[in-house]
C-alpha cells in the first residue's frame, strides 16, 4: 500500500477537473448579462413586454432545472410539476394579499422598500416551503412506484391539486385570483441565478452523485449503501421547492392566476423543455427553457399550431435522439481538461432488470 500515497496530487486538488476560474468567469458573465439587460431597459430598447418575457424565461429556467433534478438526474419520472408550481403560486399570492397588503408601512422611503422586499422574499419562500412540504408528503408513498406508474401517479396528484383549487373559494376557485405585481426583472433574474447555483452545487456533490446513482441503477446503488428512498424523496422535495418558488414568482408577475393555468399541459410544457435540453443536463435545460419560451411567445396567437409543433418536436426528439440535445452532458464540459468518451452514444437511463 506504500505507493498509494503517490496518487497525483494535482488530480486531487481539482475536484471536478474544470479550470479553476470557470465558476468566476460564469458569475461575472451573469453579472454583465444582468447589467446589460438593465441598460437596455433604461435606454428603452426593451419594452415592458420584452421584460415580461425575460422574467418568464427566468421562471421557466428554474422550473426546467428543478424538474430535471427529478426526471433527469434522479431518474424519477414526475408529470405533476405544475401542481407544485400552483401550490407555490397560491400560497404566496394568498399571503401577499392577506398579510403584506394589510400592513401599513411608515418611515423613510428606502426603508419601506426594503421592508417590502424582505416580506416579498419571505412570501416566496413560504410558497416554496409549502410546495416542498407537499413534495415530501407526496413523495414518500409514491416514489416506491417505478417508471411509468410514478408518472401517472404524479399526473394524478397534479390534477387533484388543480381540482382542489377549483373548489377552494377562499382563493377564488375557478374564477381565478388577482395578485399584486411584485415580481420584476431583478427578482426573477437573481432568484433564478441563486436557484440554479444551488441546484448545480447539489448535483456536483456526493449527494447529487447519490441521486444520479439511483437513476443509473437502483439496485446497485442500494448495494453500495445509498439509501435510495431518501435520495428520491430529497430530489423530489428539492424539485417541488423550486417549482413552488417559480410559481410564486409567476403569480406576482402575471398578477392573475387560476387553476387552469397550472393544468397538465403546463407540466407537459416543462417536460418538453427538460427532454429537449437533455435529461441530466443543466446547461441543456437552460438553453431549452430560453429557446422554447421565446418560440412559444412567437407562436402565441396560434394556440393549436403551437401545441402541434410541440407535439411533433417531442415525438421527433424521442425517435431520433431520446437523450435530448445534450444528453447528460453539459456545455461547460467543453472546458474540461480531459474529454470524456464517445459523445454520441445514447445514455441508457433505464436498465432491464
Amino acid at each position: 500500500m506504500a505507493d498509494t500515497n503517490q496518487v497525483n496530487q494535482m488530480q486531487i486538488a481539482n475536484v471536478e477537473n474544470y479550470p479553476r476560474g470557470l465558476r468566476w468567469v460564469i458569475l461575472v458573465g451573469v453579472l454583465l448579462l444582468y447589467l446589460g439587460i438593465l441598460g437596455l431597459k433604461e435606454s428603452g430598447s426593451l419594452n415592458p413586454y420584452h421584460i415580461q418575457i425575460l422574467c418568464l424565461i427566468c421562471i421557466n429556467i428554474v422550473l426546467v432545472v428543478s424538474l430535471n433534478l427529478i426526471n433527469g438526474f434522479t431518474g424519477q419520472f414526475s408529470l405533476g410539476h405544475a401542481g407544485f408550481m400552483a401550490v407555490g403560486a397560491y400560497v404566496s399570492a394568498f399571503l401577499t394579499r392577506n398579510v403584506i397588503n394589510q400592513l401599513t408601512f411608515s418611515g423613510a422611503e428606502w426603508l419601506v422598500t426594503l421592508e417590502k422586499a424582505g416580506l416579498f422574499l419571505l412570501v416566496i419562500l413560504a410558497g416554496a416551503l409549502v410546495a416542498a412540504f407537499l413534495g415530501v408528503l407526496v413523495g414518500l408513498p409514491t416514489l416506491r412506484l417505478r417508471g411509468d406508474y410514478l408518472a401517472i401517479a404524479t399526473l394524478g396528484l397534479g390534477e387533484i391539486i388543480r381540482i382542489l383549487l377549483i373548489n377552494l373559494d377562499v382563493v377564488g376557485g375557478a374564477r381565478g385570483y388577482a395578485v399584486p405585481k411584485l415580481t420584476n426583472f431583478s427578482w426573477a433574474f437573481w432568484l433564478m441565478v441563486i436557484a440554479v447555483l444551488l441546484m448545480v452545487n447539489f448535483i456536483n456533490s456526493t449527494h447529487g452523485r447519490a441521486c444520479i446513482s439511483v437513476r443509473e441503477d437502483e439496485i446497485a446503488a442500494e448495494a453500495m449503501g445509498i439509501n435510495t428512498t431518501r435520495y428520491k424523496v430529497m430530489a423530489f422535495t428539492l424539485g417541488a421547492f423550486f417549482a413552488g418558488l417559480s410559481g410564486a414568482l409567476f403569480a406576482h408577475l402575471f398578477v392573475y392566476i387560476s387553476p387552469q393555468i397550472f393544468g397538465f399541459l403546463r407540466s407537459i410544457d416543462i417536460l418538453v423543455m427538460v427532454v429537449l435540453g437533455g435529461l441530466g443536463s443543466i446547461t441543456g435545460s437552460i438553453t431549452a427553457a430560453i429557446f422554447i419560451t421565446v418560440v412559444m411567445e412567437m407562436l402565441r396567437q396560434l394556440v393549436e399550431l403551437r401545441v402541434i409543433i410541440f407535439a411533433v418536436i417531442l415525438i421527433l426528439v424521442m425517435l431520433v435522439r431520446p437523450q435530448g440535445l445534450l444528453g447528460n452532458r453539459e456545455i461547460t464540459d467543453l472546458f474540461r481538461r480531459k474529454q470524456r468518451g464517445d459523445p454520441d452514444e445514447p445514455a441508457q437511463h433505464q436498465k432491464a432488470v
Partner: protein, 291 residues
C-alpha cells in the same frame, strides 16, 4: 332508491370506461406501453360518428362500424410510426412519445374543427323506463348491449382464434413467440386495431348518451380508463372490465352523495390508493423483481 339509481347510471358510465380500459390494458399487456393517445382515439371515434351521422345521415350500426374501422386504422398507423421504432427503448421514452401523439391528435382536431363543443346528433329519441322507481333509459340499455356484445366478440377472438392465441403468446414473451414463428409485429398491430376499435365504440356511445363532443373530450375519460385498467390489474382484460365498472359507479356515487365538483378527483384518488396498496390491481398477481 337514490343508491340504486346511481348504481344503474354508474354501470352505464362504467361500461364506457370498460371499453376504453380494455384497449389500454391490451396494449400495455403486449408492449408495456401506457398508450396515452388512447383517449384521443376515443375522441376521434366520436367525431367520425358525428360526421357519419350529420354529413351522410348514416344510422346507428353503420356509424358504429365506420368509426371502429377508421380508428383501428388510425391506431395501427400510430403504432407503426411512433411506437414501433421505440420498442426496445426505455419505457419512459415511449411514454413521452405517446404524450406527444396525444397532444398532436387533440390539437390537429382542434385546429381543423375548432375548440367549441358540438352537439352530437340524436340517433334515438330517448325513452325512459321505470323499474320499481329506478329510471333506465333506452340509451343506457343500448350501452349495456353494445358493450356486452363487443366484449363477447373480444373474448371469442382472444380465446378461440389463431390471432388471439398469438396475442396471448406475445404478451407472455415476445422473443419466445417470435421463435415459435409468430409474426410479432402483425400481432401487435392487431392488438392496437382491436383496442382502438373498442375506444371508437365507446366514443359513439358517449356521443349518444352525453351529446356534446369536443377535441379534449378524450383526456379525462382516457385517464379514468387508464385508472380503471390499473385498478383491475393492468394487462388483464377482465380486470379492465371490472375496473371500468367500479370507476363508473364510484364516480356517480361521489356525484350522488357528495359533490359533482369532485367527480374527476375520485379517479385519481382511487389510482393513488390502488398504486400504494396493491399496484398489481385487484386481479393482478404480485411479482418480485429479478436481480
Amino acid at each position: 332508491m337514490e343508491f340504486l339509481q346511481q348504481l344503474v347510471n354508474g354501470l352505464a358510465l362504467g361500461s364506457i370506461y370498460a371499453l376504453i380500459a380494455i384497449g389500454y390494458t391490451m396494449v400495455y399487456g403486449i408492449v408495456q406501453l401506457i398508450n396515452f393517445a388512447h383517449g384521443d382515439i376515443y375522441m376521434i371515434g366520436a367525431f367520425v360518428g358525428f360526421f357519419a351521422v350529420v354529413k351522410y345521415g348514416l344510422p346507428f350500426l353503420p356509424t358504429l362500424l365506420l368509426a371502429m374501422l377508421v380508428c383501428s386504422v388510425l391506431g395501427v398507423i400510430i403504432e407503426k410510426i411512433a411506437y414501433r421504432p421505440l420498442r426496445n427503448s426505455p419505457r419512459i421514452t415511449a411514454l413521452i412519445t405517446a404524450i406527444g401523439v396525444s397532444l398532436f391528435l387533440e390539437n390537429v382536431v382542434r385546429w381543423r374543427l375548432g375548440p367549441d363543443p358540438r352537439p352530437f346528433p340524436e340517433l334515438f329519441s330517448v325513452k325512459v323506463f321505470s323499474l320499481g322507481g329506478v329510471q333506465v333509459s333506452n340509451v343506457q340499455l343500448l350501452i349495456f348491449g353494445v358493450a356486452l356484445v363487443l366484449i363477447v366478440i373480444l373474448q371469442f377472438i382472444i380465446y378461440r382464434t389463431r390471432i388471439g392465441k398469438a396475442m396471448r403468446a406475445v404478451s407472455q414473451d415476445q422473443d419466445a413467440a417470435r421463435l415459435m414463428g409468430i409474426n410479432v409485429d402483425r400481432t401487435i398491430s392487431v392488438t392496437f386495431a382491436i383496442g382502438s376499435a373498442l375506444a371508437a365504440a365507446a366514443g359513439i356511445l358517449v356521443g349518444i348518451a352525453y351529446p356534446r363532443i369536443d377535441p379534449y373530450m378524450g383526456i379525462l375519460p382516457g385517464l379514468k380508463a387508464f385508472v380503471a385498467a390499473v385498478l383491475g390489474g393492468i394487462g388483464i382484460i377482465p380486470g379492465a372490465m371490472l375496473g371500468g365498472l367500479v370507476m363508473g359507479v364510484a364516480e356517480l356515487m361521489v356525484v350522488g352523495f357528495w359533490s359533482s365538483d369532485y367527480r374527476d378527483a375520485i379517479a385519481f384518488a382511487i389510482l393513488i390508493i390502488i398504486l400504494l396498496i396493491k399496484p398489481t390491481g385487484i386481479l393482478g398477481k404480485n411479482q418480485s423483481e429479478k436481480v
